[in-house]
């Protein structure tokens, strides 16, 4: 909202503008004192902390605990009274008597000021597609990271929690999935575009160095005022080449003029995993593996010989009579604590406002040996230095510590053999060992060589596994013997100077930066090998005295953003308003790493340091990623009478990632809106209060989908070949070799997105109902894919190619309802988004990706692709009938009856397609009676077809309640854990569902018979394990009570006080058979949280 000032005030022209936050302009005046009281229209009670400002001046104050205020103003002036959640009132001063002002809760959101990129705007004036979540909803999330507050709250924004692990990264996808490359939205915190080294990468060396800790957890959600999601090109084009996956603008809290205000929020909660996998007990387990082996024994090998003494009934070591150990329950960290405390101080004078906050938060994982804690400090100051110059600074310092030492998740624990114990009082460590062995001195040990060899070797025939072939590492011992933790330190801030030489023309220079260091310390004790099922020689690469290995890895991220904006706003001829922004920006980011590891001669954590002991200390450093972006942007907005709107944006971006000649591109967008209710012909009724139609078109880019220097061919010196062995020397000398693993693509261009957005915003039924419907159509083209080139090329590294087109279309609905019945205020809000995702074009039409995430023209991205189960043979007659028609080539059968011979209880698969009949076909649509790889077909989609959230809230007499549901539908997932727990092909423990397996006396139709090494291939990727992963979840139920001001008033200190209790994830309705439809590894937890919010 940009105002033009009447000529009488020209002398007192605007001096101060909070562009990013309130947009409220203040002018100076000094007249008589006016006092009054502000009351809530519903409760009749005074409202504390309401901002009262003399319109057009810089004079402002806030009400006290009882709603009283006094301010100096002249009778000709107007008081602007505003408070979050209430309608803003403009009250003329007129006389000198007390003014009582009744504020009604805000029903229409049209006057809300929302953050858009490079500015703010009243909601009624918005032309693009944006969603906003405010502090009130953000506070309700218990997550240490802010993204989860968007889940179910913002239309068009799909958020999948990473589960119950406090470090987990939620997945955020805006309006479908645009690409199979980099799909993360751009985050902009107070105007600084964020950069994370290795963003979007979870595998390989980059994914490892990036660390599992979500860097957005370093932003204290309590400091956030709002999060705005820019969803279409007309809203996001100002971020050009970075914006195609959507932009999330995070605006942090700022001070307001007035006396100092102290706010305290504090909560404590516990969380628990409510469900574990049901697995077999020892007896059931032995029955199963015996039966499975009997069905398909190795030639000339008995069960006992095959599996050894633990499985041999006659052996003294036989484990079949052991008790059952529940590995999963043992790993649970019951009633994992969650603390969150923060204190905020804000206030200011006419010229300067400030905001200071400090926070502490700590969450334990629902699994053992994992937690995260965060200390954060934020400071913000905005100051008007003189009439034309203003400046501001925001700075946050964060320290975050994470212990990531769980070493396993629930599916891993579930498949552990049930007879293997975790504790053993006879072992010095107290834990039950997994391997045993003794050592002999290695005579050829020579520490003067680079390859010193181990000081000791395992004795012949050692080590041995104590619990048989499927011994599982003892995760609980590893908790004690290993230590893996992260320390993250961050400084994030920005400062600006703004000059406004003439009214409405503002030139602003901004410098923003982010620096964080992520230190991983990983310790593993030599004794480790005894608790591992793959025991390595602990004396390898050390002098024989060391007790363990310590590694320290530092990843440092550096992000410097420089920007100049020139903004001019003017209203002329009364009804015409323009708003022009020109901007130039320059961002440089770098991510580097240093890593060192060495042997430590002590186990005492106090003494764990890496010392220089050649050749047993190793390390490296390097710059992993570097980016330079330069962008120029212009935006022109025109508005006529709040009725017609036009916006045009053009951004010209250059990035260092591509080849010379390909570095620069344009990103234009246009949007228009029409307030139909503003037309004189539109009848004024109580039912239709406001209707606005809007639409936009634009183009965006995705520079992060391109890898670094993909236009160059790199030389890697990490291959080796040993030479010179012979004459008694078996090792030779290792020589460093070189390899050139890249395909240099000099014609690579940006991945781009075109969007069309059409929408209607309506306010209906006497302002009780707000409704928005939007249709979006997004086409991503020139998608850069990191392609594993056909193996014949011999090119090792994936190459980046512009290969594909993907389309996302859908609709979004948002509905709000506000009303008051008796003394009760009701508020309902909900949103619903649909996504239809299609791959339109691929390079050569050739599908990509495997069974768990197939990419093929005409299908949604990452669809599930596999075989379809035919059924389970119940008798020989069924087998004969089937075999007379079909043969399953994937298990070696041929037409003449050769290959594997079915038995009753075997699972068979459907003949869906046929082999190609000519070289142009990949497969034939006509079945050919042969079951083979060509019979794999569409089994489900992994991108949700729709998702939604709705919130019901009510308050009366100080009590408030809100119920928040969130859900996802039309989505399938491959239940990988169940596939592992129902395979019955080996020694891993299995789900209790296999008790219902087919046997002659139990003719199951869902679970085949048990067979070691399952020759009939029942565990192939098939619809057997594809499940509906839709769900609806009671995400949050919160009940609060606000202590009446009349009571607090007596304390003289506390201005407001609210206590609340929340239950999160109280129930989930889902057909998913695993632990949770979002993730089975560390599933989402049920939480109970109690908290207090107070202000002083």
């Amino acid at each position: 909202m940009y105002q033009n000032f009447p000529p009488t005030l020209k002398k007192l022209r605007v001096l101060f503008l909070l562009i990013f936050f309130s947009g409220i302009t203040i002018a100076i005046s000094a007249q008589t004192m006016v006092s009054g009281r502000i009351i809530d229209s519903a409760s009749g009670q005074g409202i504390a902390r309401v901002s009262v400002v003399v319109q057009g001046s810089k004079t402002g104050t806030v009400t006290d605990a009882n709603g009283n205020f006094s301010i100096s103003a002249s009778p000709t002036q107007v008081l602007l009274v505003s408070n979050l959640g209430y309608k803003t009132e403009r009250i003329p001063v007129r006389g000198t008597g007390p003014i009582n002002i009744v504020l009604a809760p805000q029903i229409s959101l049209l006057d809300d000021v929302v953050v858009i990129g490079y500015g703010t705007r009243q909601r009624k004036d918005v032309t693009g597609a944006i969603s906003t979540v405010g502090a009130k909803d953000i506070e309700k999330s218990t997550s240490m990271t802010p993204e989860l507050a968007l889940q179910g709250r913002a239309a068009g924004v799909f958020v999948s929690s990473g589960g119950g692990d406090p470090q987990a990264r939620p997945t955020v996808r805006i309006r479908g999935v645009n690409t199979f490359g980099f799909a993360e939205p751009l985050y902009v915190i107070d105007g600084v575009p964020m950069f994370e080294g290795g963003a979007g990468v979870t595998g390989g060396a980059i994914g490892d160095i990036r660390s599992p800790v979500n860097i957005f957890s370093m932003i204290n959600p309590n400091d956030i005022e709002s999060m705005t999601v820019l969803k279409d090109a007309s809203a996001a084009a100002i971020y050009g080449v970075r914006a195609s996956n959507g932009v999330i603008l995070i605006t942090t809290k700022k001070g307001k003029a007035g006396r100092p205000r102290v706010e305290l929020t504090s909560s404590y909660g516990v969380q628990n995993i409510t469900k574990t996998f049901e697995v077999l007990n020892t007896q059931q387990y032995f029955d199963l593996v015996r039966q499975a082996y009997a069905a398909n024994p190795d030639a000339n090998t008995s069960f006992d010989q095959r599996y050894g003494p633990r499985y041999t009934t006659s052996s003294p070591l036989y484990a079949g009579n052991n008790p059952t150990y529940d590995w999963q329950r043992e790993l649970l960290n019951k009633n994992a604590a969650m603390h969150d405390h923060s204190i905020r101080l804000s206030g200011g004078s006419d010229a300067t406002t400030y905001y200071l906050s400090a926070g502490f938060s700590k969450q334990e994982s629902p699994l053992k040996a994992n937690n995260m804690e965060r200390y954060s400090i934020a400071a913000n100051i905005d100051s008007r230095v003189s009439k034309v110059i203003s400046t501001g600074l925001t700075l946050r310092l964060v320290q975050e510590r994470a212990l990531v030492n769980t070493q396993g998740d629930l599916p891993t624990m579930a498949s552990s053999i049930p007879f293997q114990p975790f504790y053993d009082p006879n072992d010095p460590t107290g834990f039950a060992p997994v391997s045993r062995g003794s050592f002999v001195r290695n005579p050829s040990f020579d520490p003067s060589k680079i390859d010193a060899g181990p000081a000791f070797n395992f004795a012949p025939n050692d080590p041995t596994l104590l619990w048989g072939q499927n011994s599982r590492f003892n995760v609980f011992a590893l908790h004690a013997l290993n230590d893996n933790r992260f320390d993250l330190n961050r400084v994030l801030g920005s400062g600006y100077v703004q000059i406004e030489p003439i009214t409405g023309l503002r030139l602003r220079g901004t410098l923003g930066g982010d620096w964080y260091m992520n230190l991983r310390k990983s310790w593993s004790e030599n004794d480790n090998w005894r608790f591992s099922q793959t025991p390595g020689n602990p004396f390898a690469n050390q002098n024989g005295q060391a007790k363990g290995t310590l590694g320290e890895r530092r990843g440092t991220t550096y992000n410097l953003n420089k920007e100049v904006t020139l903004n001019y706003t003017k209203t002329f001829l009364t009804d015409h308003s323009i708003d022009v922004i020109l901007s130039a920006s320059d961002q440089f980011t770098r991510w580097d790493v240093s890593d060192i590891s060495g042997r430590v001669n002590f186990t005492d954590p106090q003494l764990r340091n890496i010392t220089n002991q050649p050749p047993f200390t190793q390390g490296f450093t390097g710059i992993l990623q570097e980016d330079q972006l330069i962008g120029y942007m212009g935006r022109v907005s025109y508005k006529f009478k709040d009725k017609y709107y036009l916006d045009g944006t053009l951004r010209y971006d250059g990035s260092s990632r591509l080849a010379p000649g390909q570095k620069w591109d344009y990103f234009p967008s246009f949007a228009a809106a029409w307030r139909i209710t503003g037309e004189s012909f539109f009848p004024k009724t109580k039912f239709i209060n406001d209707i606005k139609l809007r639409g936009g078109w634009g183009r965006l880019g995705n520079f992060q989908s391109a890898g670094f220097y993909k236009f160059l061919s790199g030389v890697v010196l990490s291959a080796d070949y040993p030479l010179g062995s012979g004459n008694g020397n078996g090792v030779g000398t290792q020589v460093q070799a070189a390899r050139l693993p890249d395909f240099a693509n000099t014609t690579l261009t940006w991945e781009k997105l075109k969007t069309i957005n059409v929408a209607m915003d309506a306010t209906l039924f006497n302002n009780h109902v707000t409704f928005t419907a939007e249709y979006y159509d997004k086409t991503t083209f020139d998608i850069i894919q990191s392609v594993a080139l056909p193996p014949n090329t011999g090119i090792q590294n994936n190459a980046d190619l512009n290969v594909a087109t993907v389309k996302n279309t859908g609709v979004e609905f948002q509905l709000g309802y506000n009303n008051k019945i008796g003394a009760v205020n009701f508020n309902l809000s909900g949103n619903f988004t649909t996504v239809k995702n299609r791959v339109v074009r691929l390079n050569g039409g050739t599908p990509l990706g495997g069974e768990g995430g197939r990419i093929e023209e005409g299908y949604p991205l990452f669809y599930l692709w596999g075989y379809k189960v035919g059924g389970i043979f119940q008798n020989q007659a069924e087998i004969d009938a089937w075999r007379s028609k079909y043969n399953d080539a994937s298990i070696g059968q041929n037409r003449t009856g050769g290959g594997y011979t079915y038995r009753p209880g075997d699972m068979y698969f459907q003949d869906v397609y046929g082999n190609p009949r000519d070289p142009k076909e990949r497969f034939s649509n006509t079945p050919d009676s042969i079951i083979n790889a060509n019979d794999r077909s569409y089994l489900g989609k992994s991108i949700a077809g729709y998702y939604y959230g709705f919130n019901l809230a009510a308050n009366t007499k100080g009590f408030d309640i809100s119920v928040f549901f969130q859900g996802v539908g039309d989505i399938q997932r491959y239940n990988e854990v169940r596939a592992g727990l129902e395979g019955m092909g080996g020694l891993a423990n299995q789900s209790t569902t296999v008790l219902d397996r087919w046997t002659p006396t139990n003719p199951s139709t869902t679970i085949p018979r048990a067979e070691y090494n399952g020759r009939f291939g029942a565990t192939r990727f098939s619809d057997r394990f594809v499940e509906n992963a839709g769900y609806i979840r009671l995400r949050n139920l919160q009940i609060g009570y606000t202590i009446p001001a009349s009571v607090l008033g007596k304390t003289g200190v506390i201005q407001s006080l609210r206590v609340y209790g929340s239950g999160l994830n109280l129930f989930t309705i889902t057909p998913w058979t695993g632990l949770d439809p979002e993730t089975d590894g560390v599933p989402i937890t049920r939480q109970f949280v109690f908290g207090i919010n107070a202000s002083f």
């Binding site: 100049v564 250059g654 390899r739 050569g844």
Partner: protein, 504 residues
């Protein structure tokens, strides 16, 4: 005050203007990586040397443990023939039935062979274009010879495993080269022969001690002759036998070592009988058998996996070992000293490579070199080439007898006795050669290639072959389907120009 503001405005405006000019500096976008690139490499001899060794380093991928006995690519070399079998159920390289284009081990072997070829082509291209960087006499030729030899070896393997895989001899620099057609007949073998032929003219007779293990002219002539014999089998062309004999004749200085076991021992690598070996070792940091050679210098696998023979408990993870077939056991005269060098006759467990093995620090993989070509193999191939090219039967038998003589000398003296040089029935002598190859080269990863080519030649038939498998009932070998292993899905799925082999 006003003056001050004006002044400050001017200062700020110039700062801002300065910044805009700064931002306009488009040169800033020309960031370059902090590691070497192709443009900044190949500037000195050592760069070429490293790139050449980079081709060799790919050999690690053919024979290593690869994270588990079920994924070790050495299995397709060792198991398919009739010399070795296993009790492991569903082992497709023993039973063939479930050998599918989705097979992980084949797919892995396939892609790693082409990676080796890619590295060789790159070195050849760089050598072709270099001017004046090489100063050491002959080194340029040697590197070129090594690159050619290794590419030839890769094509030799690809022909033997897959038969019809694509032939790539140019560097892939454009997406139009991603989908070459498959080959027919012996095109892959033809390329191998071409490469070996040229390599043989370029390579040195020997290397100094520090470079021992690199391929020599003997190695190239040996593989050239061997490939020619293979092509002669497949195409039934007598001229190739003659050419093979000419190549073998160029081998100088190679002899049979006194103890055959020295060919399978970690401490007698690169001996006088050896023509080419994969140099297994361990990385100086740790032989991390879950990470390939390319991973890192300090850690990564430079080793080979012999656990299928030694039945090393850690590595095998409960899988059945590979052991001798009863056919192999019965092929030996009980007094043949090679019997116990090859296996323990009591339980048919393999002694070759396993008995004088040495594990790396990993305690599961080994540093014991894989002998890709040794002189005894060459002698038997000479016998075969002589016989098949209508040469002197006595000469042919003489070659066999050289091998038998060495074997006999290891024991008390009577067995294996020399074959009669008076024998003139070529069929009989061919049978001797085939049986001698089984006995001499058993378990060395040669048998399947031999059987396959003899079948193509029509000397033997593999129709309904059971390969003396220990799991005869599960045997599902089909002809001609299994003579050609399936082209992996990883290629078929993305390359429409390659045709899948018949039957898959």
């Amino acid at each position: 005050m006003k003056k001050f503001i004006v002044r400050l405005s001017i200062i700020l405006t110039s700062v801002v203007a300065g910044f805009i000019i700064h931002a306009c500096n488009k040169e800033k976008l020309n960031l370059l990586p902090h590691g070497p690139t192709e443009q900044s490499y190949f500037l000195e001899e050592d760069d070429f040397n490293r790139a050449t060794l980079g081709i060799y380093s790919k050999l690690s991928d053919f024979f290593w443990w690869n994270g588990g006995p079920g994924s070790s690519p050495i299995t397709p070399f060792l198991l398919p023939g009739d010399d070795i079998t296993t009790n492991q159920s569903n082992e497709e390289f023993d039973l063939f039935g479930s050998l599918q284009p989705s097979n992980g081990r084949l797919s892995y072997l396939y892609s790693r062979h082409y990676q080796l070829i890619n590295r060789a082509i790159l070195v050849l291209e760089k050598i072709e274009r270099e001017k004046g960087i090489y100063t050491t006499p002959d080194l340029k030729n040697w590197h070129k010879g090594e690159a050619l030899f290794l590419r030839g070896y890769a094509y030799y393997n690809l022909w033997n495993f897959f038969g019809t895989a694509p032939l790539v001899t140019e560097r892939v620099i454009s997406s139009s080269q991603f989908t070459p057609p498959g080959t027919t007949g012996t095109q892959l073998l033809d390329q191998a022969i071409k490469d070996f032929t040229e390599a043989a003219t370029l390579l040195p007779a020997s290397w100094n001690v520090a470079n021992r293990g690199r391929v020599t002219a003997n190695g190239a002539n040996g593989m050239l002759g061997k490939s020619l014999v293979f092509r002669a089998s497949a195409n039934k062309t007598a001229a190739d036998y003659t050419a093979a004999l000419a190549a073998f004749a160029k081998i100088t200085g190679a002899t049979l070592v006194a103890d055959i076991d020295d060919n399978f021992a970690w401490n007698t690598e690169n001996n006088a009988e050896s023509l080419f070996e994969f140099q297994a070792s361990q990385a100086f940091g740790f032989d991390n058998v879950w990470l390939d050679n390319d991973f890192d210098n300090a850690v990564g696998a430079l080793s080979i996996y012999w656990g299928f023979y030694s039945n090393n408990g850690n590595g095998q993870q409960g899988r059945s070992p590979y052991f001798a077939t009863t056919k192999l056991l019965q092929s030996y005269n009980a007094l043949d000293p090679r019997l116990e060098k090859t296996m323990n006759p009591a339980d048919r467990t393999i002694n070759k490579y396993a008995k004088r093995d040495k594990l790396s620090q990993s305690n599961l993989a080994s540093i014991n070199n894989y002998r890709i070509l040794r002189y005894a193999d060459v002698l038997l191939l000479q016998a075969e080439a002589t016989l098949q090219s209508n040469g002197s039967t006595a000469t042919a038998v003489g070659f066999i007898n050289q091998v038998r003589t060495r074997a006999r000398a290891m024991g008390a003296g009577a067995e294996p006795a020399n074959f009669s040089t008076a024998e003139t029935n070529r069929g009989t002598i061919m049978a001797w050669i085939m049986d001698e190859r089984l006995r001499e080269l058993a378990g060395e990863g040669q048998r399947w290639f031999d059987m396959r080519r003899w079948h193509l030649q029509g000397i033997i038939t593999l129709s309904n072959a059971s390969f003396s498998s220990n799991q005869a009932s599960g045997m599902a070998f089909q002809v001609p389907m299994h003579l050609y292993f399936p082209i992996p899905n990883s290629e078929i799925d993305v390359n429409p120009n390659v045709k899948q082999n018949q039957g898959y």
